[in-house]
């Protein structure tokens, strides 16, 4: 009986030792020396492995950044500038400041404005609904409301508003990782510069139909009337495919376009009502001035035409 115990212990110890030797040898033989900076960079990164930077995860980002040493291309949107500053310190290179982004919902077609024309009861996923048909409302461009984006969000920065049927982004939590943008089959979500004082202006509609058709489909659809484009002093708004598009690089956040939209579908976030009112008055005064100027010029031209011989 004792023999059995003895042999068992001995043989197992023997196997264990042998394995230890083999493992030791293998670990020495195939040892990979990794740049120690990779671990240090990884330590300062958020380690959420969200993939927002374009790399498969934080370790891959650390490797890439150490290898290239160039911070102008690689940027961690989640950590933002503070984290990138630390990364720059680790690498001993100059930090590159980048404007922070945030996801915005470019659809305002809530239940109230966009009536349902049919009922979808298939698999609860926007991606599946989108490949089956154009949607359960008249608008083929709008939000499908099944929340693929909310599922895709790793930061709990989104939820579906039950009253409107549209996704809502929680500003403080959104890290601009791009996951929701990729998940949306209708491309409703878009990364937008977060803006000074968290203020930003965008058009919350993607409907490319002609104005009359678009308004039939959704009461707040952009009809491409171009009033906002006319009002913009910085040429930041263009009309393309019956749709107003704001160029965030040109937009100076003057907010003068907001009340030109007859369905109020140019969204201005974090602007105080007073500021918007002020902007509106400012625009009206400016337009008044311009109109007067034009009239004067017209009158001048008319008098010049009636008295051609009078020397100027």
């Amino acid at each position: 009986m004792n023999d059995v115990v003895l042999y068992t212990v001995l043989s197992l110890t023997g196997i264990g030792l042998l394995a230890a030797v083999v493992l030791y040898y293998v670990s020495k033989k195939f040892h990979v020396t990794e740049d120690e900076r990779i671990a240090r960079v990884e330590a300062v990164l958020p380690n959420t492995n969200c993939g927002g930077c374009g790399q498969p995860g934080c370790h891959a980002f650390a490797e890439a950044v150490v290898k290239s040493g160039d911070l102008s291309v690689l940027h961690c949107p989640v950590g933002g500038n503070p984290v990138m500053k630390q990364v720059a310190e680790v690498l001993g290179v100059k930090t590159v400041e980048k404007d922070p982004y945030i996801a915005v919902v470019r659809c305002s077609g809530s239940f109230e404005y966009r009536k349902k024309t049919n009922v979808y009861d298939g698999a609860p996923s926007c991606a599946i609904a989108a490949q089956l048909y154009s949607g359960d409302t008249g608008c083929a461009y709008g939000c499908l409301g099944m929340g693929d984006c909310v599922v895709a969000c790793d930061f709990e920065a989104m939820y579906m508003d039950e009253k409107t049927g549209l996704p809502v982004i929680i500003e403080d939590k959104c890290t601009a990782c791009n996951a929701c943008v990729k998940s949306c089959p209708k491309d409703i979500l878009e990364l937008w510069p977060k803006g000074k004082k968290n203020q930003r202006i965008y058009v919350a509609c993607l409907n490319e139909e002609k104005g009359s058709t678009a308004r039939k489909e959704c009461a707040v659809a952009c009809s491409g009337c171009a009033k906002c484009a006319e009002a913009c002093r910085y040429e930041a708004i263009t009309i393309d495919h019956n749709l107003a598009a704001i160029d965030p690089d040109k937009c100076k956040l003057c907010a003068e376009c907001i009340d030109t939209c007859d369905v109020r579908n140019i969204i201005a976030t974090n602007f105080s009502p007073e500021k918007l009112l002020q902007a509106s008055e400012h625009r009206q005064k400016r337009e008044e001035r311009e109109r007067k100027k034009r009239e004067e010029e017209k009158a001048k031209a008319a008098t010049a035409a009636t008295n051609p011989e009078t020397p100027a």
């Binding site: 024309t117 049919n118 009861d121 298939g122 698999a123 996923s125 991606a127 599946i128 490949q131 089956l132 048909y133 154009s134 359960d136 083929a140």
Partner: protein, 446 residues
Amino acid sequence: MKKRAFHKELKTFRLGGVHPQDNKLSATVPLAQLPLPKQVTIPIVQHIGAPAKVVVQRGDTVKVGQVIAQHEGFISSNIHASCSGRIGIIEDVMDSSGFKHLAVNIRVKGDDWLETIDRTDTLVEEISLSRDEIVARVMEAGVVGMGGAGFPSHAKIKVPEGKTIDTLIINGVECEPYLTADHRLMLEKPREIIVGVRILMKALGVSRAIIGIEDNKHDAIELFEEWLREGKQIEVQPLEVQYPQGGEKQLIQAVLDREVPSGGLPADVGVIVHNVGTTFAIYEAVQKNKPLIERVVTVTGKDVKQPSNLWVRIGTPVIELITAAGGLPESTGKVVSGGPMMGKAIADLEVPVAKGTSGILVIAQAETKRTEEYNCVHCGKCIEACPMGLEPYRLLLLSKAGHSEKSKRENVLDCIECGSCSFVCPSNRPILDYIRLSKTKLKKLK
């Protein structure tokens, strides 16, 4: 069940398959003509391949059979005016695919046909055209596969270079429950279909044709055996009642015991398959010079008052068909274009009938409701049911996880979207929906 009068052995495909309830409510209802609608909306894209180019303008007057959109390239198809009248608005409208596509609206006035079309019922048996002329005529007539896929037929008649075709199979299976359009056509136009088969044989240069018919259509099998008793080139092959017997690859396997390779075409194994509806359309195109402007549509459903088989002009709004069959029942939950297995619910009753619309099925709310989805219990029923030998449950998981590449390695592109997996799943998982998602993603990546 009625005793079989024929003695041929029943054949079937090797893998998988399911047995949904037949529900062929309209099998005994003769074909009838649907009265002309007030207006038709003819989609420009009713086929696979390049979209046709519109050649009419708003306000033009057209005759029945006049080309309103010309094909662009070889894999494309002509679109003809199905009614005479004035061209209305040409704009994007919702069609049975669920998306908006360009369509031509015609406000119907009278029934004025082009003089070149032979509208009589007399059977023209003699085939005077040469092979190339047949292809040209079929192309001109805008005939596409009427089983649903809508592949331009002329492209299937022309034998691809470097391939030899030895057998033509005519698909008279109609394995979808409820649908009886092909069945009625076979019963009422058997001789025309046989001439159509001869035309196809001549164009393809084959000496053997087999008409595959499912065993639930005894009358059609007997009728064809009767007409084909003398010749030896065309034969009838009765097939077991099993879904999806009418799938192209399944039919080839059942009839000839040949397997189409993964990613390949029937021509790779020397076979071309045409549907009976298409065969009839080809007969009309070649012998009567009549383009594809109307087709048989089954309007059916358990609560529909008069399930019927109607000759319908292409572009007729679906609601007109339902009205002709006794109106939309109150219990309606879904209206499906096609059969219950592969058909697609339509979101708007104004969508037009297209060349590939074989049936309009009205399903009651109580029957259409999707039941709650549970976790996969790994019972393997979907694997047993899959006629292509895939692992549907795994393809669903891969699709959910977004691994399109991995599902490609699992041959997701071989899926024929028959829906057998979703049909048998005891956990009510939307397997086919997710498989389709993977397929769409992979096709986009190409």
